[in-house]
Amino acid sequence: MVHLKGVIKHFGTITALRGIDLELKRGCCLGVFGPNGAGKTTLLRILATLARPSAGTVRIAGYDAAKEGEQVRPLLGVLSHRTFLYGHLTAYENLQFYGRMFGLEKLAERITEVLQAVDLVTYAHQLVRTYSRGMQQRLAIARAILHYPKLLLLDEPYTGLDKHAVSRLHDLIVHLHAESCTIIMSTHDLHRGLDVCDEIAIQCRGKIVYRGLSLGTDVQEFEQLYSAYVR
């Protein structure tokens, strides 16, 4: 599903990624952990076609992300700590806009469906700028899954949410994973990350330094592993 080979990214004089090789099968959930500045956000942005790699190839579902971006983008759902929502429109109008952009059919039904999934139906016709941070993040998830994406990219999705919202989001991610959606998630929340992910990777200073299965790893073991690989 996802193949990265030798991906290098320069931002002027800074090198954010120094040769990433990554393979991910369909339906798998990968958790990417690492310190700040490791390049996790850059990696996700390159996967989302928001940035172009300076070298190397990125293939998603068989398409080259750099050259065939327009085939790749409808397959992706992206959730970041920025919500990508329009404050002066209602939740319904925001989803309607994205639905039209993706050319979805039976848009009204789909919007109601995703709003129910994130439990925002009662607030559907309120302006987004009146929402709390947790509600905005839930709407952002609704936006991300609106167009039935095959690959979900989550960049620190739990940031800034209270406990209630975090557990709700977590349940939703587990649900999506059960529906064979491929997920790549970068997070600092070790407990929840290990809970939902099949495989884990540790990224440090632009390289993936560890890659393995998460089955059976508990939090203490993982913390030891993490300290070993990240100096």
Partner: protein, 247 residues
């Protein structure tokens, strides 16, 4: 059938360019040509009958103008190559050519009024080419400011876009300024005539002047490019050291 000396010049150009790759040779030839040019302008070239000694500014004014246009053309080419290849080297060429181009542009804007004042009686006569130069000065100064003000990753790319736009705008600006100029009354000539055509002595002086200015341009360009490259290499090293220290 082209004259024998144009063929000779063309043939000799290639080994000459090859020899100029050597910095010492380049500097020497440049200094010699500059001195020869100055001597030709003031001693050899005949004083123009109508305009008097003021006409001699023409040699420096037009040479600067030609160099300026070539510099901006180079910025456009380097910008296109940068967008295509994303190599720092092309970015350095674009930046250096733009800086030197602005310098020559300023020279044109200074020598122009100095020439116009005795001839036309006013400092600025909204002559189409001079107006074009003024607009280009504004555009390329904005180019340099854009480079200073943009955040690092996109700096070169946005500057490249402006570099291309600036040069493509030239014929459009030229055409519009000419049309606009036809409405503006020409200032009265204080001295009659204008240039009565270039004699062969003047032509020779002019060509040597242009040659000298081009040699100067290329010398400044190579020095500026090497500074830009060194600065870039320094930044890269600095980041690497930062990373090692943090780790």
């Amino acid at each position: 059938m082209p004259k024998w000396w144009t063929i000779m010049l063309f043939v000799m150009a290639f080994p000459f360019i090859y020899l100029c790759m050597n910095r010492v040779f380049h500097v020497t030839v440049m200094c010699i040509t500059m001195n020869v040019a100055i001597m030709l302008v003031f001693i050899y070239a005949p004083t123009e009958k109508m305009q008097g000694i003021v006409q001699k500014i023409f040699y420096f004014h037009v040479s600067s103008a030609i160099t300026m246009f070539f510099a901006f053309f180079l910025v456009c080419v380097a910008s296109i190559m940068y967008l295509w290849k994303t190599s720092d080297w092309w970015d350095s060429i674009a930046l250096s050519a733009a800086e030197i181009g602005v310098v020559f542009c300023t020279l044109v804007l200074i020598t122009g009024p100095l020439w116009a004042r005795p001839i036309w009686g006013t400092w600025w006569s909204w002559d189409p080419t001079l107006t074009l130069t003024l607009v280009l000065w504004l555009i390329y100064v904005a180019y340099l400011m854009l480079r200073i003000e943009t955040y690092d990753p996109q700096r070169a790319r946005f500057a490249a876009i402006l570099g291309i736009i600036g040069f493509v705008d030239v014929p459009v600006i030229r055409w519009s300024v000419e049309k606009w100029r036809t409405l503006h009354p020409k200032p009265v000539l204080i001295q009659e005539g204008g240039t009565t055509g270039l004699t062969s002595a003047m032509l020779l002086t002019f060509l040597v002047c242009v040659g000298a200015f081009f040699l100067l341009f290329f010398y400044l360009l190579r020095e500026r490019i090497s500074v830009a490259q060194s600065r870039h290499a320094l930044e890269v090293l600095r980041h690497e050291i930062d990373e090692i220290c943090v780790g």
